[in-house]
Symmetry: D2
């Protein structure tokens, strides 16, 4: 994916540096005086022509995204923008902010709280779906494969990654992402596999006694895997998405609250804008 | 508890909770089962309808951006996406990655390297321009004000924030941002002030012997200030912009290099895509 | 303090490298195959002969500490080892731990919460005391100087750094540190200045209506300043002291609590060892 | 290890709080106005009576260490104090410092670079030795067990954790730690197992063609495991040990170098104290 593309233009440069074999190599961005080329494109030519999501895809994947993928990635990045004050990452960021530390320190602490139960779940789910697809490639049906990987988790007492939520019985972000993948004709084998897993888990709900809806991490995992992202880049997409949320909470803590307070995650009240709909022209 | 209250519905709830005054308050996102409202808008309604940059503006500023501001903010976020392997933030991220730590740890370390000389310069520049505008409001001309704040820096041996670059004598990102602010009719008093400062510094170049071009931090500072961002949110915009760069370098380090290597910032070679132009249809 | 000590042994090395002037220099530790010299001493010779606190002094200050300073520094490092679950740094570390992140991520987040109101106060207090001593050197009395710097804070609505505590009306750690500094004959001008400030604040309590006892940060600041530590190393001493506390809480969170819980700082209970005294032989 | 010790004194407290079952519990430190009890001991009573290393043991393990363990732990903490400018953690810290960020940000970034190849190796080695001891408990000899776990690594192309070093062919810190464990009569089964592994690896050197000396991480791992530390606390001991090194480098970078420089890890020169011996009275 991040391939080392050679090209004719490199030949003269190679000639000039005999010891090139010993140099370490990078394929992301080349810098020269007054010139910044990201994956070969001048950044000032990209500005105003690509959305930020398009540019993220270019940088991480090496090529410009087709329009449908750009639309999908914008939606993925919007999906996890913020989830209120209760996630541990937000509380870590606010606890740093209340000490009087600068905003970037709060944000860094919030990012560190994307452990394997929170954000890191995306990578786990991508691997989980790939285990299912390996079974399919060995000749079994999607449904058999889904059964096998779900039962593998449940027998170990683990919740299948990408399923279950502390607050939601139906995660509105997952539903919207799957709908968009369908409409944009971007559904691939990972989305089909997670839908198969979803049916297996729903069917077993009577037996397990647990309602485990597919969550936004699961939807992001399936879609990012279909788009060809590496495992750790799946988590990274969540990280890009949630960063503004961490920033907004760190800023609000610094601006609205007293320093050195004890932050009780159950004792807050929302006093922001009332529920409202997008104006017609933005739909 | 975390419901999105329209004003009428608050009365009964306040009655139920006598201690509401003691609760701490947040105006960002309200969470209820199967409902996530960001600044009052359902996140699943925003998905597919707002670009990520639009949604960032909504979360940080509280309202939907007019289209011109959305376009501007996308360009600002693209402008600082990556700057190759040499910034200290990128080297901090790569040094963490070479130890075998997970991607989010590399990224957090990179963010910590946005000190006052790197990224943090945006906030300094916003304050610097506001000092100039305070002088203007006291009755002096833009040019006089620019002279005064520039001389204040130079007399203390400091480079005016937002000016000078280690590599570029003309920062192509700054030029493009100012051009877009003009075309989108988003130029405000901070952009006018930084252009006045630019003229003063250029005029004094013969005297100071230093060429100090306006840089991308200066352009972001002026534009974010005109858009009404708080000081620390100016830095935060840079942070959102550069995060994908930190991710790409941490990922590339893990995938392409041996662990525990000594990373020499001068010894690398670009082996990525050759210089290329955007296809006509993306312009 | 970190001086560049030349020595005879360097002469041949300098001869071998013509470009030495261009190399960047470090005076801390020299590494050669099978040899690690910290400030010139073989680390394996230090092991078993210096306490960790002695070795920290050697590394940071460049010379072995006299025994009284070693004793004092051990006490300073013990003083701030832990302060239960309520400091924001501890809560930041626990919120990272509950996400399933590794221990070092929790600890890094905790360190980021040593902002200017928490830990960072030591540096502020060192500067505050030095402002007082500058006044003394200009010919005024200790008491006059203390009055002036205290009033400077109170008039701005700021609490004098190193004074006041959320929980304690008399900080037992500060009292013990001052007692030890006296007994070890390590009291210097910074300790005398903070005692003068203490008397001024006590005398003004009737007027200000606020009881502001000297706290452990103030005591560490005065003692570290008398020992000759640089401002930022004063904060660093606190950081070394509290690190085991952050580790213990991150470990306890991972071992004793469910992942992804909402951590309410007011809802905990201590279930550890009952109050006990040191055995006679350790006194 | 961090056990919930009940005691008579808790009974009245429990009686007072009916909802105690719902509270989350901590066994580390209890705070009351003007009282800080660490594992039941008043911190001001510990100050001046315990070395910092003793106090760390008390906090992490719950009880006072016998004197031999206190001596051993001081030596372990001194062993990894610093390793010059080349470790990735030190370079991460210096890259943050050169951006103008505060010392604690540099230190946090350095800690994040203790990935599984650097510092994190201690936990891997503890698990590796425990795999050997499990084989011994199943009735095999130490030597057989050592052969099996070494071959398990080598067959997978992995270096056995705790062995090999980038710079040293004989790690002087490991040798000194093993000597002290012997003299202090603290050698346990993990030290015996790692010595058995060492003999196996030495014997296979002719075959593998690689010289893999036991390193300081291996020695710390064996000793900490014999002392009863949990796996993640083994890494944590390294973290406490190296923290002053990170601090010293971040401080030196800020004080001696220009900001925003490109840090080449191969281009430095030591200009500190010449090689010297401890004075007789410190031996």
């Amino acid at each position: 994916m991040i391939s080392a593309m050679s090209s004719q233009t490199e030949t003269p440069r190679r000639a000039a540096h005999h010891a090139d074999e010993d140099r370490w190599q990078t394929a992301l961005t080349s810098i020269a005086p007054n010139s910044i080329l990201i994956r070969g494109y001048a950044v000032d030519e990209l500005m105003g022509r690509l959305s930020f999501a398009d540019a993220v895809y270019l940088l991480l994947m090496g090529e410009l995204p087709p329009p449908a993928i750009g639309t999908m990635l914008n939606a993925v990045l919007v999906s996890s923008l913020d989830h209120g004050v209760t996630p541990p990452s937000t509380l870590a960021a606010r606890n740093v902010a209340t000490s009087g530390a600068p905003l970037r320190d709060s944000v860094a602490a919030g990012i560190l709280a994307f452990g394997r139960h929170h954000g890191g779940d995306i990578e786990s789910c991508m691997r989980f779906l790939d285990r299912g697809l390996t079974i399919v490639r060995a000749g079994r049906s999607m449904q058999d494969a889904a059964h096998e990987i779900v039962d593998g988790c449940l027998q170990d007492g683990r919740t299948p990654p990408g399923f279950g939520h502390r607050f939601h019985t139906r995660d509105p972000r997952a539903a919207r992402l799957f709908q968009m993948a369908l409409e944009l004709e971007l559904e691939g084998e990972h989305v089909r596999m997670i839908r198969a897993v979803e049916r297996v888990i729903d069917a077993e709900e009577a037996e397990t006694g647990r309602h485990l809806p597919v969550n936004v991490d699961g939807a992001i995992a399936a879609i990012c895997a279909d788009l060809g992202f590496a495992y750790d880049l799946g988590n990274a997409i969540f990280l890009i998405s949630r960063l503004p949320g961490l920033i907004a909470h760190a800023h609000e803590e610094a601006v609205r609250q007293q320093p050195m307070r004890q932050i009780d995650p159950k004792d807050h009240q929302y006093d922001g804008a009332a529920s409202r709909r997008l104006p017609e022209k933005r739909k």
